[in-house]
């Protein structure tokens, strides 16, 4: 049956005929697209695959490393932002004169100081640094004061008079979609940011062929990144030495995307990008929350320009919650059909995302939700209807597992239900629906390396699944689920032919290696990855390598740390830059050693000849065939040598010295610098064309040069009296291609699983009339150290043919499997299916009571965010600037007539 299934096969055939990962690796290096060195055939690496500490660990453990808020410069002012207290209102008037008169206030900026719209997506330029005429959520940015200290700036905020005209507001996406008047953005009818309708294969036929069909609504509530470091930006203008006026802009910011920040600053401030320098200091976690331009980053620059002084703005934790950009509340109406043998015949999903007040990454998020229904299992027929809806709430954006997590929760839970319905083991039904890579899925995603089968086998084996599943005491259970994620988007946000990553390497005369990379280390360890790849390729110790990262004046363009792209893309660029510079060393060293460059081995700080190659050239010994470095110039005496500028001195040296058997790394470097004049190399990476997806509308999102795979088993217990769920252990296997630094990969897997567990059990943004009820870490409740289970991280290496040393993504893909693994384990424990996460005690108890046909006690009253009127007062008490919670004047549950309210805060 499977053989009849039609695959849309594309791509180069050389990938299609070789099944084994090892042979794929060899073949990939024969691909002309990437430079090749002999050492690439080696698998006994000296640095790759070894667990090493982060190269910047000491800066973090001694306190000497600087995050943005740790920075200060002479004459620096502190900026504070005035936020909207209303979810939807027109700004009638702003009077800043009282604030400006306050002692210590240097300037106050408002929307008209920088009226150009911007947004992270070219199709979503709907934000203003400060509101121009309308505020669209509680927390929207209205004005900013720059003053000599924080206290003065805060006092000044209270002196800004803003007159608002309140507008009806929309808090529920399904209501918002029906709106015809008072739209959130005038150019978005029905408050729909974007909707997509995709049909792949023949879903109707697929459902007709199914023996069992499940259909249900799943809801995943809103969560946020809550990275430990609150956003912070320090903006300063250099004084132009010729004119004495403010000249170039220097922005230091807690960002995952320095290049995009530079781009948007250029747009809003109407400055050339070359006149803006963005530097990323240490960043205290991102998870997507710093992967786009956050209002304070632009506001600080505007304030610095007007104040003619450096301005630093750091968000309070409450402001971080308003800035948000987290994972939207998602309603998934899902229908899946399977045959009695377990084959999935069709999937139909209608997804509604509550995107908040602006576009942000929304268009991409809603596309990911549909696109990544594919590339995990073999699904021949898919129908997808996705709606990204605007509401008057803080803006949702990209968060770890961008777009895939909530739909994956729904799908994996439903697949479990179907397995139960046809009497099949949940692990087996997943094994039954595997892809057969290399292939291209029905929705145009190219899959090459595919470690999912091994991932499932590993967690089944390690968790004792076969012996324990279904045989545990009541209240305790096991659940399995799988997930996957992109290793970087194959298409960048701003469409162009530009490489996605470029890296420069310079080597000093003493053998010190400096790597200039745009990769933004946000705690995931990209600086360490870059150092490892460089040291491995050059055969030097990692201690020689210094990484200068994410400074737009120094480092070539890298489009940022998002979509899990850095290891794959920046890693490949680093590899190529290192190979470029290595080639130059090899040509010079070969002359010294009287051999061919291809005969050299670079390893452990020594450049030596390959085994069996000794003595002068022309000794008659056969050279290993096929190992000469393609494209490299052969330094024969009469031949032309690329980059040779010091012919005279070289010839002099040759006279002085006889050939050497080996050189130290420094000697080889000195030889190369004497020979070439300087030693630097460049490498870049752009995803191959055949990995960039299909042609349908929205096809640009979802394609990736490689996908990571994950399978997990969770063991939970459920207290049937209280509804409390405890996760005891999670076995998490993850196919990361090759683990460049295993301890780092494990750290990412564990962190992903842990964050997924937070979304599964406790984390939820609670809303009342557009007001966030829990804007603090105490109320938001991520799992603490005493609630965090053991995660057994299992690395699976499928050796991707295009990844650097075979590596793929490892930081996001695991998150999505955790939520359904837990929901499926709850079913195994107590026999109820939970369709709404997080699985709070209230929701678990409600499900248990429904199952037991008990008299329905409405324990969930006030917890359902779809009914704001019945909303429970939640723990949060941090009402904006001391104002007590008040119902929105236009709320239908109020009897008063709406009236314009003059705000005086």
């Amino acid at each position: 049956m499977r053989s009849k299934r039609e695959w849309r096969r594309r791509g180069e055939t050389k990938f299609l005929v070789i099944p084994s990962a090892a042979r794929n690796l060899l073949l990939c290096f024969a691909n002309d697209e990437r430079p090749t060195t002999n050492d690439d055939f080696m698998t006994d690496f000296s640095i790759i695959g070894k667990s090493i500490a982060m190269v910047d660990a000491a800066g973090k453990t001694t306190g000497s490393g600087k995050y943005t808020d740790d920075l200060s410069v002479p004459g620096m002012l502190i900026g504070k932002i005035l936020h909207s207290p209303y979810p939807h209102a027109r700004i009638k008037r702003i009077d800043t004169s009282r604030a400006e008169k306050l002692d210590g206030v240097v300037t106050v900026v408002v929307g008209s100081d920088a009226p150009n719209p911007y947004g992270i997506l070219p199709v979503g330029h709907d934000e203003y640094a400060l509101a121009l005429d309308k505020v669209r959520y509680v927390g929207d940015n209205v004005a900013c004061v720059a003053a000599v200290d924080e206290f003065t700036a805060e006092r000044a905020l209270e002196l800004i008079d803003v007159e608002y005209e309140l507008l009806p507001a929309y808090f529920d996406p399904e209501d918002s979609m029906k709106a015809e008047t008072n739209l959130i953005h005038d150019n978005k009818p029905n408050n729909i940011e974007k909707d997509y309708h995709h049909v792949f294969g023949d879903p109707e036929k697929g459902f007709a062929e199914a023996d069992r069909i499940a259909e249900a609504r799943f809801i995943a509530n809103e969560v946020t990144h809550a990275a430990m470091e609150p956003h912070s930006t320090l903006a300063a203008f250099e004084i132009d030495p010729q004119t004495g006026n403010p000249g170039r802009l220097i922005v230091q910011s807690s960002t995952q995307v320095p290049y995009y920040l530079q781009h948007k600053l250029s747009l809003v401030l109407e400055m050339q990008m070359s006149q803006i320098r963005v530097i990323k200091p240490l960043v205290g976690g991102g998870f997507g929350g710093k992967s786009e331009v956050i209002p304070l980053e632009i506001i600080a620059a505007i304030a610095a320009r007007k104040a003619k002084a450096p301005v630093k703005i750091t968000y309070t934790r409450e402001e971080v919650f308003w800035a948000h950009r987290g994972r939207p509340r998602t309603i998934v109406d899902l229908k899946t059909g399977v045959k009695n043998d377990g084959s999935i015949t069709a999937v139909k999903a209608r997804v509604v995302q509550d995107g908040g007040a602006y576009c942000s990454y929304g268009v991409v998020t809603i596309l990911y939700s549909g696109a990544l229904l594919g590339a995990l299992y073999d699904i021949p027929n898919i129908q997808y209807d996705g709606y990204r809806v605007l509401t008057n709430k803080p803006v949702c954006g990209a968060m770890r597992g961008h777009g895939t997590v909530n739909v994956r929760f729904a799908f994996e839970t439903q697949l479990d239900e179907l397995a139960a319905a046809i009497g099949m083991d949940p692990a087996e039904i997943r094994q039954h629906n595997l892809l057969k890579p290399p292939c291209v899925t029905v929705n145009g995603l190219r899959v090459q390396s595919y470690g999912l089968p091994e991932c499932i086998e590993k967690v089944v084996e390690r968790s004792g699944w076969r012996q324990r599943k279904g045989k545990m005491p009541r209240g305790r259970g096991l659940g399995v689920a799988c997930s996957h994620y992109v290793s970087g988007a194959a298409n960048s946000i701003i469409r162009s032919d530009m490489p996605h990553s470029t890296v420069n390497i310079k080597i000093d005369r003493d053998g010190g290696v400096v790597v200039y990379t745009g990769a933004s280390d946000i705690g995931q360890g990209s600086d360490t990855m870059v150092a490892q790849i460089t040291a491995e390729t050059l055969g030097c110790t990692i201690a020689r390598v210094r990484v200068i990262a994410a400074d737009t004046d120094l480092t070539p363009i890298d489009i940022g740390s998002y979509s899990s792209r850095v290891t794959f893309m920046n890693g490949n660029a680093t590899l190529r830059a290192a190979q470029d510079v290595k080639k130059q060393i090899a040509t010079a060293a070969a002359r010294k050693m009287n051999c061919e460059p291809g005969d050299l081995i670079f390893r452990s700080d020594v450049v030596s000849k390959k085994n069996g190659l000794q003595g002068p050239r022309g000794d008659g010994r056969p050279r290993p065939s096929g190992q000469a470095e393609p494209g490299s110039a052969s330094p024969s005496v009469s031949g032309h040598v690329e980059g040779q500028i010091l012919r005279g001195s070289l010839q002099q040296k040759r006279k002085d010295e006889g050939p050497k058997e080996q050189l130290s790394f420094e000697e080889a470097v000195v030889a190369a610098i004497d020979f070439h004049g300087a030693l630097s190399g460049t490498g870049s990476y752009a995803p191959p064309l055949d990995a960039r997806g299909g042609k349908h509308k929205g096809a640009g999102v979802g394609p990736s040069p490689a996908y990571s795979y994950s399978a997990q088993v969770a063991e939970v217990s459920v207290d049937e009296e209280t509804g409390e769920v405890t996760v005891h252990k999670v076995w998490a296997s993850h196919d990361c291609g090759r683990a460049l630094n295993p301890v780092s990969v494990e750290g990412q897997i564990i962190g992903s699983v842990w964050m997924g567990m937070g979304q599964a059990l406790t984390e939820e943004m609670v809303w009342k009339d557009g007001m966030l009820m829990n804007p603090g870490l105490l109320e938001y409740r991520s799992p603490s150290s005493v609630e965090s289970p053991e995660v057994e991280a299992i690395i699976v290496e499928s050796i991707d043919p295009e990844g650097p040393f075979g590596a793929k993504e490892c930081s996001e893909g695991s998150l999505a499997a955790t939520i359904p693994a837990i929901s499926n384990a709850i079913y195994d424990a107590v026999g109820v299916r939970l369709h709404e996460c997080p699985f709070t005690p209230e929701r678990v108890l409600a499900a248990l009571r429904a199952k037991n046909n008990a008299k329905r006690i409405n324990l969930t009253e006030g917890v359902d965010p779809t009914s704001p009127a019945r909303f429970r007062e939640h723990g949060g008490s941090l009402w904006y600037r001391g104002k007590g919670p008040e119902r929105h004047p236009l709320d239908p549950s109020r009897t008063e007539t709406p009236a314009a309210v003059a705000g005086d805060d």
Binding site: T62, G284, G747, L777, V786
Partner: protein, 157 residues
């Protein structure tokens, strides 16, 4: 308005004039320029601002600076001795007990308090000791390994 106070920070005595409303964390970061102590939540939850006050781990955003008058304070910058990393610092680096590093100073100081009271903590002791420190990156697993390693290293010392 300002209040004179004396405080010993990392073994060095400081005589300061501070505003009564100034928080201890503000004094440490802004007056003494010891920026290794971080602010994560402003509400005494996350523990990124943890310092040792007379040997006890406290959240320095919860205290006024003047309350530390006469006290002895250790911040992350005070862990290193004679150019040598403290065994706890070394353990957090070696055992991959950190990722972004923002919460790390607080975690290390909570660990120091634990290990000064209990040389052989079990897993439960360790989890409890850092229950007031939030980390969003690690899921705490490698933090616990680092604490274990630190305990071993310090036993030998």
């Amino acid at each position: 308005m300002n209040v004179p106070m004396k405080v010993t920070v990392n073994g060095k005595l400081h005589a300061l004039d501070v505003e009564p409303r100034m928080l201890l964390v503000e004094m440490v970061r802004e007056q003494l320029d010891l920026t290794g102590t971080h602010v994560g939540c402003d509400t005494t939850y996350c523990g990124a601002c943890t310092v040792l006050l007379n040997g006890a781990a406290v959240k320095s955003c919860t205290m006024f600076a003047v309350q530390a008058d006469g006290a002895e304070i250790t911040t992350v910058e005070g862990l290193e001795k004679d150019g040598q990393l403290h065994p706890i610092q070394k353990a957090f680096g070696d055992a991959y007990g950190l990722q972004c590093g923002y919460c790390t100073p607080g975690l290390m100081l909570s660990t120091l308090q634990l290990l000064s009271e209990n040389k052989q903590p079990d897993e439960k002791d360790m989890r409890k000791a850092i229950a007031g420190n939030t980390c969003r990156c690690t899921g705490y697993q490698n933090v616990l390994k680092a604490m274990q390693l630190a305990a071993q290293n310090m036993k030998g010392a």
